[in-house]
């Protein structure tokens, strides 16, 4: 369970990225965050694993306070939180398997990890993660030789290899085409249901948000302005969150207005 308690983030330049957000995310939920660029979606997600430090308030993850966590505690916490990124963030020059094995680093001693001698059990976990996203045949292929969709699936496998309790996805499909986006979103949905991993996804395609989210929250200028069931979120709701009328850029597959 994740608890935001009046969490605020102000960047050094004076930008109020997050304002007094209070939120409770129960275990096993698939929550989608929507909002304009700069509304605070990325900041909110990164506040959960401490990549962005809070300036006020706190975020409690499974009883651990992110703000007061010291280095070692923070690393332990992060090992339970998998993250996937809009730009995939894979190491292009090395193999898919090596990328996924990065998810096992938190459980590997320094000497072993520097030499690359992962335990067979860890390699097995990595392979299983690759199988779960159906890309194991590319295990020894260089990451640079994969398509965008394939790279994102490797990113998901890397996060899964951590055997996490939480999964954070920062605009996971923004760089992908529609069919591939659906594949990735379906993977996330499946992982959430089968493994019970609490999943939080930033999306700026509203049609995807409605289809794949259980719960949708909306951010505007760093503030929480909507929190409800995905089924109840319609055009009016989104327009309120965005503060403007919707355009074709806000949906993945614009349906012709006939």
């Amino acid at each position: 369970m994740i608890n935001f308690e009046n969490a605020s983030v102000t960047y050094p330049g004076g930008v109020h990225a997050l304002r007094h957000v209070t939120l409770e995310i129960p275990a096993g939920q698939l929550m989608v965050i929507v909002g304009l660029s700069g509304a605070g979606k990325s900041t909110l997600i990164r506040a959960i694993n401490g990549l962005v430090p809070l300036t006020d308030g706190d975020v409690i993850v499974d009883g651990v306070s992110v703000r007061s966590a010291k280095a070692g505690d923070l690393r332990r916490l992060r090992s339970k939180i998998g993250m996937i990124f809009q730009t995939f963030n894979l190491v292009k020059r090395t193999t898919v398997l090596n990328n996924v094995l990065m998810g096992r680093l938190h459980a590997t001693g320094t000497a072993r990890s520097l030499l690359g001698w992962y335990r067979p059990a860890d390699v097995e976990i990595a392979m299983q993660a690759l199988e779960r996203v159906d890309i194991v045949e590319k295990a020894y292929v260089r990451a640079a030789n994969l398509s965008g969709g394939q790279q994102q699936r490797v990113g998901i496998a890397r996060a899964l290899a951590q055997e996490p309790r939480f999964l954070l996805a920062d605009e996971p499909v923004a760089s992908l085409d529609p069919p591939t986006s659906h594949v990735v979103m379906r993977d996330l949905q499946r992982i959430n249901r089968d493994l019970g991993i609490t999943t939080i996804v930033n999306l700026h395609f509203l049609d995807l948000a409605k289809v794949y989210g259980e719960r949708i929250i909306g951010l505007r200028a760093g503030e929480l302005v909507y929190d409800g069931n995905a089924a109840h979120a319609d055009e009016h709701v989104f327009r309120d969150i965005y503060g403007r009328s919707l355009t074709a850029d806000d949906v993945l597959e614009a349906k012709p207005v006939v």
Binding site: G82, N89, R93, L101, S113, L114, G155, Q162
Partner: protein
């Protein structure tokens, strides 16, 4: 479009900056100072050309002494005496390159903006690096010979210091330019700093690292041929000895050897680089 265009006037040509003429003037002044006799080195081209006739005795000479027939008459029987020092030169270069490049890899991560643990280490490291790079390899050799005595050991140590300076500078600049995305992913997964550097940064710079190592190996080969001049092992000792004895024919053999040696290594290095890419 013509009617509208006539209404707008052409922009004024920007005033040429002062920098270029200023640069050229200071350049000329410095050069004039440099060649002058009072301040500089006293370069007299006429005198030089006159001296060219001196070469003749240098290049070719009739003499009973096999070692002294001029640069164009290499004294091949001298070759075997140079074999061992030549081998020592190669060994010095290999050892110094291996140790120097090995040390330079972790050090580079400490002096790169992207992977340094904190500002203190970064700044201290950068300053020390500037000083280390400012001392030429042979000066290191002189100092280390004063500390250890003559022989190849001070030579190897001198090359190591020199190596580390060059590779750390090159490598840290490469690390400065890496893609930081994988680093964020590494930290987000709970990996330690060292693990993140090893798996998110190192794979990105490894090809460059190998290229720099090969480059530095070539530099070391060239340097180790002359370190012997001050007593730090290798063929340089023989080179200087024959030179001071005016044994031009022997010197010629050594020069050809050095030349062939360097060219060979360069071919190997080019071949290796092509296969690695």
């Amino acid at each position: 479009m013509t009617a509208a265009a006539d209404a707008r006037s052409r922009p004024a040509k920007p005033r040429p900056s002062l920098a270029v003429p200023l640069g050229i003037v200071s350049f000329l002044v410095i050069t004039w100072l440099a060649v002058s006799r009072e301040f500089g080195i006293g370069l007299d081209v006429g005198e030089l050309i006159g001296n060219l006739t001196r070469i003749e005795g240098l290049l070719w000479r009739v003499s009973t002494d096999q070692a002294d027939r001029g640069l164009l008459n290499p004294n091949w029987p001298f070759l075997p005496q140079t074999a061992e020092p030549m081998l020592e030169t190669l060994q010095m270069a290999v050892i110094a390159s291996a140790i120097g490049c090995g040390l330079a890899l972790p050090i580079a991560f400490f002096v790169s903006r992207v992977t340094t643990p904190n500002a203190g280490v970064f700044n201290a490291g950068r300053s020390v690096l500037s000083v280390i790079r400012a001392i030429p390899d042979i000066l290191y050799a002189l100092i280390f010979i004063a500390a250890l005595g003559v022989g190849p050991l001070p030579g190897i140590l001198a090359l190591i210091f020199f190596n580390v300076g060059v590779v750390v500078k090159l490598l840290s600049e490469t690390v400065d330019g890496v893609d930081v995305g994988p680093i964020e992913a590494g930290r987000a997964s709970g990996a330690s700093r060292a693990q993140t550097v090893r798996w998110a940064v190192m794979p990105q710079v490894l090809p460059n690292y190998v290229a720099y190592s090969l480059y530095v190996f070539e530099l070391n080969i060239r340097a180790s041929t002359v370190l012997g001049i001050v007593g730090a092992g290798g063929i340089g000792r023989i080179l200087y000895r024959e030179y001071s004895l005016f044994h031009w024919s022997n010197l010629s053999v050594v020069i050809v050897e050095v030349f062939v040696f360097v060219i060979l290594i360069e071919f190997v290095s080019i071949w290796l680089r092509r296969r690695l890419v």
